[in-house]
Symmetry: C2
Subunit: 187 residues, 2 copies
Amino acid sequence: MARWDPDAEGRLRAAALELFQEHGFENVTAAQIAERAGLARRSFFRYFPDKREVLFAGSEQLPAAVGQAFAAVSPDVAPWPTVLAALDSVGALLVEHATDAVRRREVIQASPELRERERTKSAAIALAIQTALEQRAVPSADATLLAHAGTAVFQQAFTQWVDEAGRQPIETCLAAAAERLERLIGI
Amino acid sequence: MARWDPDAEGRLRAAALELFQEHGFENVTAAQIAERAGLARRSFFRYFPDKREVLFAGSEQLPAAVGQAFAAVSPDVAPWPTVLAALDSVGALLVEHATDAVRRREVIQASPELRERERTKSAAIALAIQTALEQRAVPSADATLLAHAGTAVFQQAFTQWVDEAGRQPIETCLAAAAERLERLIGI
DNA sequence: ACCAGTGATGGCACTGAGTGCTATGGTGGG
DNA sequence: CCCACCATAGCACTCAGTGCCATCACTGGT
């Protein structure tokens, strides 16, 4: 999305984050964001397909990372540990690119529209996990369940990581969440 | 949502479903739906807060059913079985009200916008499960994981139920999905 | 039968998201 | 110096969603 001028794209994202934090997502127009970034309203929609996407830059990388992470895990490993290993890679990538993670999270949580979009992003990760599992001959129904359980673990781990302000590495949070889920379900 | 004239509401929902199936969600305007239902465009937005909601009528009942279902389960039961028992109730309610389930599902799957909204509906169920668990003194992190795992099972079961055209009762699909997940994760 | 109150509906006008099209200005290569 | 290319600006349009007010039907009271 918008690989042309990384500088202008960054200005748009920064301007949007400031304005959303100040006035709330629904009270900020695309024209205001563009103006603060020194661009025209029309150009905003050339960088981002819609107003919500300005807060989710780089999120396409996460589903892609799932595929690569799966490739790095031996096919002999059982499905669930494979999913968890892949989540480690995705988590590392997320943390690396999450400079404004906390501020972004606050803005997203404050707006139903943005929470809705965030679920779509999570669903894209889940779909990537599911297709990667199916390529390993995991039955479709199993793949769906594992993918959703994986994203549940991922979200819980990320929430914990943010709440603790990153004092623990994301891998620790992921392992803790996975263990928690296994203990809760495996009775 | 729109308790005034159930007849007009039904006409709007039927008209929307037909038009969406015929031309696709994004190629149908609210005015066209209203016209086919014999109402004005303005009235459409009095029955439904936005164009997507016309396909999700009655979905508010499902989160509410979660609370009631929890109340019917003894507090001595462990959290995960409690969640599964609650899902049985929700599933029964869903099946009961799902006259156009298959057609609705097709239309929803065909539109990214509608799929996004459907995830919001699932999230509402998950939130209801989470809060119900927290009221039973389940730690917040556990409740989040259980709620998401529960909705994963629910979605998988519902998908299977629709794919099999309802030949198996929803409870059977739910039990199968739950067992599947436990087997996959509990290693 | 008349009248007043209530509430659903219709019409109108407005804001803002998103989009197609065209003009313009800046920049690199010849 | 000129030309081609490309990001951007500007304009005009559709459509979602909303506030406001007029209208019409229905109801109860006299």
